[in-house]
């Protein structure tokens, strides 16, 4: 073998690797380009036409809630829109996180293998359904249902959700409290406490569902509708990521806990979930990102009213989110490329981008920190 040939070989090898690296770097390039191009079109919004930073519009953007982009001059107060994004995300998280973690725990520790094999595809299909189909369901099926029978639906829902929880709370609380006594007093006090707590929670439920039943739902396209649907959409992410985290904890810790006479719930709550908490946090973060970035569902079913609901926690009013505003207003702004109307949408996109980037870094940090802690 001549030296020339081996040099040639080495050169081709280098070139080949360089090519691979170049292709791989495309995704890096893409991320940088996305940041650059979104920022490039967003920046004019924060600048005066004459140059220099425009405090006025910037302050209006973050603190004003008047959104009249078509006015002369246009008003670009995005606070209500940012708030809309926040409220539907919070709603989605309220739906997705408890259910998702409970389902993940059930999948990893409770269900037998065969049932798991059936449930997993269900999760995958739930994740695969296109967002526009969810949006269509929210708009065409769920919204009319909410509008016509929403109050009854809420009341029945509150019974279904709260009755078992309160019943259980009653049993456990009276058990724990009555355990302070001994002998016959214990049984007696338990019975009394049952009656006390049970009656109390039944009364509360009655009042609460009565309150829900008296609510008037003007429009089925509102934050509540969107929150439920977004929650369902975020569920698969939360479930699969936290299940992975729970599985990663390993059998040794589970056995250690069981051998000390812990029940399954105690093992999970006191040992496994704390050990997997960083993975579960990452799951929640990913769920948040899915809900914040979702466009079609909120565009179709949130009502698209740029307003802060009154009172601020009222989920039954229409809202408008960042993503829906970008999608909906770009059509009109398109023709006047370069104007405030156009760049304000890029400013919103930049906001979304920075948020998701921060969330992503946070989830990576959480995972890395936990790896360091466990020392693996």
């Amino acid at each position: 073998m001549s030296a020339g040939k081996s040099r040639f070989q080495r050169l081709t090898q280098m070139a080949g690797q360089g090519f691979l690296l170049a292709v791989t770097s495309m995704s890096t390039l893409a991320v940088l380009f996305i940041f650059y191009f979104i920022a490039k079109d967003a920046v004019p919004f924060f600048l005066k036409t004459a140059g220099g930073f425009n405090w006025e519009t910037t302050r209006q953007f973050f603190t004003g809630s008047k959104w009249y982009p078509a006015g002369t001059p246009g008003q670009f107060g995005a606070l209500s829109i940012i708030y809309g994004s926040a409220i539907v995300t919070v709603g989605a998280i309220i739906v997705a996180v408890p259910l998702g973690i409970a389902a993940a725990v059930c999948l990893s520790d409770v269900l037998p293998f065969r049932v798991r094999q059936i449930v997993k595809p269900v999760i995958e299909i739930l994740a695969a359904i296109p967002s526009v189909a969810y949006g269509f369901f929210a708009l065409v099926v769920f919204a009319p249902m909410l509008q016509e029978k929403g109050d009854t639906l809420l009341a029945v829902g509150s019974w279904i959700i709260l009755l078992p929880i309160l019943g259980l709370g009653t049993l456990v609380a009276s058990d724990v409290l009555s355990d302070r006594f001994k002998g016959r007093i214990r049984t007696g006090s338990r019975l009394v406490l049952w009656g006390l707590f049970g009656g109390g929670s039944l009364y509360f439920l009655h009042r609460f569902s009565g309150f829900l039943n008296s609510l008037e739902i003007d429009s089925g396209t509102n934050a509540f509708n969107v929150s439920i649907i977004l929650g369902i959409m975020a569920l698969p992410t939360v479930v699969s990521v936290s299940e992975d985290a729970l599985q990663a904890v390993g059998r040794e810790l589970r056995e250690g806990s069981y051998a000390l006479g812990a029940t399954r719930a105690e093992t999970l709550c006191l040992t496994i979930i704390p050990a997997a908490i960083s993975g579960i946090c990452a799951a929640v973060i990913l769920g948040v990102m899915r809900a914040v970035g979702e466009t079609m569902v909120v565009w179709m079913a949130s009502g698209n009213a740029a307003q802060i609901p009154a009172p601020f926690y009222n989920f039954l009013q229409p809202v408008r989110t960042l993503t829906a505003t970008i999608a909906g207003d770009m059509g009109e702004a398109d023709h006047v490329t370069g104007s405030y109307r156009y760049s304000v949408l890029f400013a919103m996109a930049l906001l979304l981008l920075i948020f998701s980037f921060g969330m992503n870094l946070a989830s990576e940090w959480v995972v890395r920190r936990s790896r360091k802690k466990v020392g693996k």
């Binding site: 292709v23 996305i34 979104i38 389902a103 967002s131 269509f136 179709m300 998701s356």
Partner: protein, 529 residues
């Protein structure tokens, strides 16, 4: 419960075992509830989409449907359709006879009015002159309502005239007839509108311009709704005390008691079937027909084709890039700052909201690179490709890492080069895994809407030929679903088309995903041996 035969230890223990078991069981119960909720929401969401979506393909079509299909798409046997249409026409004849009889009666009354008016116009006094001036504008060929209006004017003029003392009787007669005709006139127009919506243009009407008005109801389920709207007048009632508004239905027949139109209601109520001849229809061409008159007729081929182009285009860009990146990351990259930065970038890319991809596509591919003059499939595909790139990289990486190290070592030990090993050993062994990832991201690309709004999708369009695909925008299923159910002018009339589109899209995506699930199951079985 006769619980613990193994007795509790005495002493410090203070939480009862029963309580702990109760908590344990309710904890598991919570998990079951969550799983059940997930499965239930899947069913609740998919069921209406499947059931109602199938009704775009399988439904009871009327003769109007077959006629429209025959006229517009040349489907079906022309002679047979026309023969059937004649039968329907025969069944409708009694109804049309009613209309004719009614119109005759009305024109008789109109004649009487004209006669009276002309009688008055013939007079020599001021009344006669003013009526005659009015009557000069009278045109017996004009539509019924405008004739009526002129005559009403004549009456008003005459009644106001002081010299009208000796024509009191005539005026009184005129007034009665006019009152009867004009109150009825509004109702008759509504009647004819409702009827033509149900059965198509009525005989003698000028043929309407819009295609959708040239035919009656094409679907029996819609026809039944229209039948009800014909039989009952709907009216919103707003109670003064602030109670919620509601729709009040009054039988339309009430307005036509005693007229020649009265029997028409019974005919519509009982003989609609023979007028529309409903027949079970399997319209598989819904998938392959283009749409006419903004989805009122035909199918969704343009949208389906557009979705195909976009998905395949996205794959064309994303698969080579993704697989190469995965190979590099798994086989060549040594851990370094740059590589970990690269990985952060990939996960950032995965987290970018889809609408931001859309804006980026607009700002970069269209406004900066100008890959095409306007929105185009090319720009849309590239945007989608960026979006699914991280998914493909991750799936391929996993598949490559799952290849047993021994395979590689064996190949390397035989003196194969690294690149050769990758091509001949690693890639073939990880191919099923990579395919699974590709298939899943295909589903994602097909169903994603936000990135194509600004880069590729238009609401109305014809199917593109493959040559035009790269420079032209296209309709696409996800975008047109949105468009049809929010921005179309007849949202409620076209529910079946919307459901049909959603069903088609969901079916496409689910078929892709199910094949991925099956593929993976086979692979894991093979790996397990």
């Amino acid at each position: 419960m006769g619980r613990p035969p193994i007795p509790e230890k005495s002493g410090e223990i203070s939480v009862r075992l029963e309580t702990r078991h109760l908590l344990d069981r309710s904890f598991s119960g919570l998990g079951f509830v969550a799983i059940f909720f997930m499965a239930a929401s899947l069913v609740v969401i998919l069921l209406p989409i499947i059931v109602k979506g199938l009704s775009a393909y399988l439904f009871t079509g009327t003769i109007e449907f077959r006629e429209a299909m025959n006229d517009q798409f040349d489907h079906g046997d022309r002679a047979a359709v026309q023969a059937e249409a004649r039968l329907a026409e025969q069944a409708r004849q009694p109804l049309y006879d009613c209309l004719t009889a009614f119109a005759d009666g009305q024109s008789k009354q109109l004649d009487r009015l004209t006669a009276i008016a002309q009688g008055m116009a013939a007079r020599e006094d001021s009344l006669g002159r003013s009526v005659a001036r009015k009557m000069r504008r009278f045109d017996p060929q004009a539509p019924f309502s405008s004739q009526l209006k002129t005559l009403q004017g004549v009456y008003d003029r005459a009644a106001a005239n002081r010299g009208a003392v000796d024509v009191v009787d005539e005026l009184a007669e005129m007034n009665t007839i006019l009152a009867g005709l004009s109150t009825l006139n509004e109702k008759v127009e509504a009647f004819e509108h409702a009827l033509s919506e149900l059965l198509g243009p009525l005989p003698g009407q000028t043929p309407p311009r819009l295609l959708r008005s040239q035919y009656g109801q094409t679907r029996w389920d819609r026809a039944l709704i229209k039948q009800r709207q014909f039989l009952f007048e709907e009216e919103w009632v707003h109670p003064p005390d602030g109670a919620p508004s509601y729709i009040k239905e009054t039988p339309r027949i009430e307005h036509f008691r005693g007229t020649a139109l009265e029997p028409a209601f019974a005919l519509i109520e009982h003989d609609l079937e023979s007028m529309l001849r409903p027949k079970f229809t399997f319209y598989w061409r819904f998938l392959t027909d283009t749409s006419k008159d903004a989805n009122f007729f035909g199918g969704i081929w343009a949208e389906v084709l557009g979705t195909f182009y976009l998905t395949l285009g996205a794959m064309l860009f994303a698969v080579p890039m993704g697989v190469i990146a995965a190979i590099y990351l798994c086989e060549y990259a040594k851990p370094s700052r740059f590589i970990s930065f690269l990985r952060t970038c990939i996960s950032t890319l995965a987290g970018v909201p889809s609408i931001v991809f859309g804006l980026f596509g607009l700002a970069f591919f269209l406004n900066t690179l100008e890959v095409s003059h306007n929105k185009s499939v090319l720009a849309g595909s590239m945007t989608l490709a960026l979006m699914i790139l991280p998914t493909i990289i991750r799936a391929s990486e996993e598949a490559i890492l799952a290849v047993p190290q021994t395979y590689k070592e064996a190949a390397l030990g035989l003196g194969a080069g690294r690149w050769h090993t990758v091509l001949t050993v690693v890639l073939p062994a990880s191919l099923p895994g990579i395919l699974t990832g590709i298939v899943i991201s295909m589903g994602r690309a097909a169903g994603e809407t936000a990135p194509i709004i600004f880069t590729a999708a238009v609401s109305v369009g014809q199917p593109l030929s493959i040559f035009k695909a790269f420079s032209q925008p296209t309709p696409a299923l996800p975008w047109n679903i949105y468009n049809l159910c929010t921005e179309h002018e007849a949202v409620n009339e076209l529910r079946h088309v919307q459901f049909g589109m959603v069903f088609t899209l969901v079916a496409m995506v689910l078929i892709l995903n199910l094949s991925a699930i099956i593929l993976r199951a086979k692979v894991s079985k093979k790996l397990r041996g």
